[in-house]
């Protein structure tokens, strides 16, 4: 491995992320295949709508587990806003939308990531609960089921577009980010640019894991 790379995520973090990501994508695309007649071909590729229905339902259960693990693991890092730097970052839109001379330094997750995390956590939980009711709709009052359909669609309308924001920001929109979720090793330059506060904090605590260097405990 290249010397000087810094470990940003451990294996467990990456595993949970991919459990969540893959199940979420399967759910989005099987859901699309069922919700839109023009996307029925997605369902047909999977062996028809009935098969798609079962893939969707059982993947939903897996997603529920992954979501639970993700919330448990990330809520204190990504679910809580740190003031005032997060507010300053927000006011500068993270330097993503207009020119900002010096983007306020943030911790391991920036406020944009935190908002995405919260959106997935809240709407993901809504998707799991409403999804289970939609799986067994005859056990619940009709009027309730109708409004849960609406919530399920709302959750999709929130999560699906945000997924593309996340995809863009994690890849070409912010080069150097993707390795954090593949190998876990990122460059110091990327950390300085994106999560300077976390970098300084880890250095101060002596917890930084740098390739080619002895781990300081």
């Amino acid at each position: 491995m290249k010397k000087g790379l810094i470990q940003a995520t451990d294996w467990y973090e990456r595993l949970v992320h991919w459990m969540l990501a893959i199940s979420c994508l399967v759910l989005c695309f099987t859901g699309l295949g069922m919700m839109f007649k023009s996307f029925n071909f997605i369902a047909n590729m999977m062996g028809g709508l009935v098969v798609t229905k079962y893939i969707h339902n059982f993947t939903g259960l897996f997603f529920g587990v992954a979501l639970f693990l993700a919330i448990k693991m990330w809520w204190h890092e990504a679910g809580v806003f740190e003031m005032p730097e997060d507010m300053e970052w927000m006011n500068a839109a993270g330097g993503y939308l207009w020119h900002v001379d010096k983007v306020p330094a943030v911790g391991k997750y920036n406020p944009g990531q935190k908002m995405f995390f919260l959106a997935v956590a809240i709407f993901g939980a809504i998707m799991v609960v409403t999804g289970i009711v939609m799986w067994f709709p005859l056990r619940f009052p009709t009027e309730l089921v109708r409004w849960l359909f609406v919530l399920h669609a709302l959750g999709f309308a929130v999560i699906f577009p945000l997924f593309f924001v996340h995809l863009y920001m994690g890849t070409i929109g912010s080069p150097g980010s993707a390795p954090a979720m593949f190998t876990g090793w990122v460059t110091r330059a990327w950390l300085k640019k994106q999560h300077h506060k976390w970098l300084k904090e880890m250095e101060r605590k002596g917890k930084l894991v740098v390739s080619g260097e002895e781990k300081k405990v």
């Binding site: 709709p137 109708r146 359909f149 669609a153 709302l154 863009y168 110091r188 994106q194």
Partner: protein
């Protein structure tokens, strides 16, 4: 009778509750009889079932003058023009036929039960053995051969008739006028007009299990007509926005200078 908009008229005042239509429906559609339960009423089975697409509802009614009467209402699919079941059906199993009625292609049904939640009349029923939903299709295969639906054919009192929609609406209003009092026509004024019409002797709210003013539920409209297109528009907008961001503002690239001069820069 081929390829015109049809309507079935049920004149409840002529119904004697012989239940011939209920049997004829089962026979033509080859639906089995299932073990039932006597609940102290002639209404049997107690409700619509996956194998019972039409049901005579028996209702004891005492009007304001203290006069007792039986109300008989043949319940079943109303064949809406603005059909909530079709709006939610993900597979296209529920569809409008060439007669304007709502048909069901059973081989396409995936048993999601969304139509059961959406229907303002609470008509579709689910069979967990086949994992499919069933309802009246107004004997569409008979209609295509120029035949009347089985229930119409079997009706001995002329309570159930079928014909061109406009003709039947006129006939219904004429009959309601003839009856006078609270008699009214039910079906032509909501959900785009149903293809099953009632002549009711009492006000609609008097009848069990009959919504006074049925509509496609607002929740269903919000779901299918607002959130569904919005989700795709939003996703498309994000993709377009990301692309524009990339080519106009550019990605946020780490500063190479600070990488070489460790700890310096800024």
């Amino acid at each position: 009778m081929k390829y015109m908009e049809l309507a079935k008229l049920i004149d409840t005042t002529k119904c004697t509750a012989c239940r011939g239509c209920q049997i004829a429906c089962k026979q033509w559609n080859e639906m089995p009889g299932l073990k039932t339960k006597q609940l102290g009423s002639y209404q049997n089975p107690p409700d619509l079932q996956w194998n019972t697409w039409t049901l005579i509802r028996f209702q004891e009614y005492v009007n304001k003058q203290g006069k007792f009467s039986w109300l008989f209402r043949k319940d079943g699919c109303m064949h809406c023009t603005d059909a909530a079941c079709m709006k939610v059906c993900p597979s296209g199993a529920l569809h409008h036929t060439e007669f304007g009625t709502v048909g069901i292609k059973s081989h396409l049904c995936i048993g999601c039960k969304e139509c059961m939640a959406a229907c303002p009349f609470d008509i579709p029923r689910y069979n967990d053995k086949t994992d499919k939903v069933y309802k009246c299709d107004l004997c569409v295969t008979r209609l295509r051969e120029g035949q009347q639906p089985a229930c119409v054919k079997s009706c001995i009192t002329g309570a159930i008739t079928i014909g061109g929609k406009e003709t039947m609406i006129k006939k219904a209003y004429a009959r309601a006028k003839e009856l006078g009092g609270d008699a009214n026509v039910y079906g032509d004024k909501f959900v785009g007009g149903t293809h099953v019409l009632y002549v009711l002797n009492e006000k609609p709210e008097v009848y069990d299990e009959l919504p006074k003013y049925p509509t496609v539920p607002f929740s269903i409209v919000l779901w299918k007509d607002v959130l569904k297109p919005f989700s795709l528009l939003a996703a498309g907008g994000v993709l377009a926005g990301s692309f524009l961001h990339y080519i106009i503002h550019g990605p946020k690239t780490p500063d190479e200078d600070t990488a070489t001069k460790k700890g310096g820069g800024e």
